[in-house]
């Protein structure tokens, strides 16, 4: 099962692609990484350091830091607060910042 975009009443402009763990993901200009990933059905953004637990977007407003990912090589980037960009390389964050 996946999340979805509400299309009624909204023109999002021209779609582009970025990658998440090597797979192509569709996004629109200004869309957050988290929103694009959830619309694509990917909800796990990181694995915790201490107990290796899966986590994903929780607070949706930049407070909880649960949705952090590695973006263009930089760890601990909040997917909910960061707009996706064409060609961006996003990776699931394991622990404090090792790529998968």
């Amino acid at each position: 099962m996946t999340g979805f975009r509400i299309t009624d009443g909204i023109d999002r402009g021209t779609a582009f692609q970025f990658t998440c763990d090597g797979e192509s993901v569709t996004a629109y200009p200004g869309e957050s990484i988290a929103a694009a990933l959830m619309a694509a059905g990917k909800r796990q953004t990181r694995v915790t350091a201490r107990r290796q637990m899966p986590r994903g977007l929780y607070c949706g407003m930049g407070v909880c830091w649960e949705c952090i990912m590695i973006v263009n090589g930089k760890p601990a980037v909040r997917a909910c607060m960061t707009p996706a960009e064409p060609g961006m390389k996003v990776e699931t964050q394991h622990g404090v910042g090792d790529p998968a």
Binding site: I6, R43, A49, W65, M81, G95, D98
Partner: protein, 484 residues
């Protein structure tokens, strides 16, 4: 150093209303906000490249939202987005991180409109991907028009439960269950006289209820979520009724398949900045917990620092808009742009409106008041501190070993020391200590606030962009032991 007459922290409903009103009377106003776009949480804005093709049920606030966004370009207002306030090096000065534009700003008067976030309500499985907060769901709707799952359940306590249920129903999700922990239907008769002080909100609530019922979802009151289950993400949610004594009745629990669980157990004010400024706090459970003590004219115990909106005590958007506007008048009066009489004339109608909202809030608080039974849901394996992966069992074991204060439990388990800086666990930690010691929660001392008030990078402090840091390959290296 930058200088300004009035510094407003937060570009949500309260902050922008304050800035707009103050600038109208001739003050030089600077607004610092940690989001990319103005509006805060309630008036969260769609990406600027998105266009509305026609009005939908989700666009009812567009007019008020657009008016607020426009204030960022108003004469006299300097609006700095993506700016994180992290320190106050001296009275009247705040330091903020904003990439290469980081710096300090000195203000004659400061208004803190820091807003609120969801109150953490831990239960087994609440960390699974697919479990999101009510505030987070509304943000995804407003800011992105994305729903993060399909088969949905909403559970919690407070007016956001109905709102989120209606959102999901209207968005076309397969809404299964909406469960409100408080027995609100039984209490409605005792609250309605106060609630109708804000007839528009009452009508909205009726609309939300109708939307939920039309979707075919079941709406239960006096029920709660007790567990979320799944391997790598949410697969199933367990719900149970709360009996007359406030205890969860597990014998009547039922499991429902779902891939989205939205939890909303009320909001709490974001108080990290007022704490850092050493403003005196008081415990007001019905306004979300710890709030800054405010004197006449919204001034905190720190002279020259005012606090308004949800960050000063949960009052909702109607309260925030009005408190903000009133604070704008107060600032203009204090800095000599309005005479006492002029200010009094401007204040009177806003104060009358605030009184109405307060009446409404009293009804709402009676309607939704709930015994704090959520600690009963914690199993030894339930995560309390999400950042540092600390469980209720670990904390209780430390408590049994004699570590009885927030500071001792913080120091020995790292609870509250992760990236969220305690925003998602300090409340639970305090509640565990209160439970063990028999003290009321407001007598549990919070750990000392530390810099930075919010996370900033070394690059921000150096006021320049630095290249990404090489991280060590071993993920558990900087964190001590690894537990499985």
């Amino acid at each position: 150093m930058r200088e300004t007459d009035l510094l407003v922290v937060g570009a949500g409903a309260a902050g922008l209303s304050a800035a707009s009103e103050a600038a109208k009377h001739g003050l030089a106003v600077t607004v610092l906000d940690d989001n990319l776009l103005p509006g805060g949480q309630y008036f969260r804005r769609l990406p600027t490249g998105y266009h509305h093709t026609h009005e939908t049920v989700f666009d009812k606030e567009r007019q008020r939202a657009n008016a607020l966004y426009a204030t960022t370009g108003q004469k006299g207002i300097t609006y700095l987005n993506d700016a994180v306030v992290w320190e106050s090096p001296e009275n009247g000065v705040l330091a903020f991180a904003r990439g290469a534009d980081s710096g300090r700003i000195r203000a004659k008067l400061t208004i803190i409109a820091s807003g609120a976030h969801d109150r953490p309500a831990p239960f087994p499985g609440w960390t699974l991907p697919g479990v999101v907060t009510a505030g987070g769901l509304q943000n995804l709707l407003k800011g992105q028009r994305v729903i993060p799952g399909r088969r949905a359940i909403v559970a919690g306590n407070g007016p956001l439960v109905l709102l989120v249920g209606a959102t999901l129903a209207r968005a076309g999700a397969e809404l299964r269950e909406v469960v409100e922990a408080a027995p609100i239907l039984k209490r409605l008769a005792g609250s309605i006289a106060d609630l109708i002080a804000m007839p528009k909100i009452v009508r909205q609530a009726v609309d939300y209820r109708l939307a939920i019922m039309k979707s075919g979802a079941r709406l239960r009151t006096g029920w709660t979520v007790i567990e979320a289950r799944g391997a790598d993400e949410l697969e199933e949610v367990v719900l149970a009724p709360i009996d007359a004594t406030g205890k969860v009745d597990r014998s009547r629990a039922r499991a429902v398949k779902a891939d989205l669980l939205v939890v909303g157990f009320g909001l709490m004010p974001s108080i990290e900045l007022v704490r850092l400024l050493d403003c005196k706090l008081e415990w007001k459970p019905l306004r979300g917990g710890w709030v800054p003590v405010r004197g006449a004219d919204f001034e905190t115990s720190r002279p020259g620092v005012l606090a308004v909106g949800d960050g000063a005590g949960i009052g909702g958007v109607e309260m925030a808009l009005r408190e903000g506007k009133l604070a704008g008048v107060i600032a203009a009066e204090r800095l000599g742009k309005l005479s006492r009489d002029q200010a009094a004339n401007l204040k009177a109608p806003i104060q009358a409106e605030i009184a109405k909202v307060e009446t409404f809030r009293r009804g709402l608080e009676r309607l939704y008041a709930m015994p704090p039974a959520f600690l009963d849901l914690l199993t030894p394996e339930t995560i309390v501190c999400r950042c540092e992966d600390v469980t209720a069992g670990e904390l209780r074991a430390r408590q049994d070993a004699g570590f009885g204060s927030t500071a001792a439990l913080k120091g020995t388990t790292r609870t509250t020391m992760g990236r969220c800086q305690g925003r998602n666990c300090l409340r639970t930690l305090s509640a565990l200590i209160a439970q063990a010691s028999g003290q009321p929660i407001e007598q549990v001392t919070m750990p000392r606030p530390r810099l930075p008030a919010r996370l900033v990078t070394i690059g921000d402090l150096l006021q320049e962009e630095l290249p990404p840091i090489e991280m060590p390959k071993d993920p558990h290296l900087p964190r001590g032991e690894r537990v499985s």
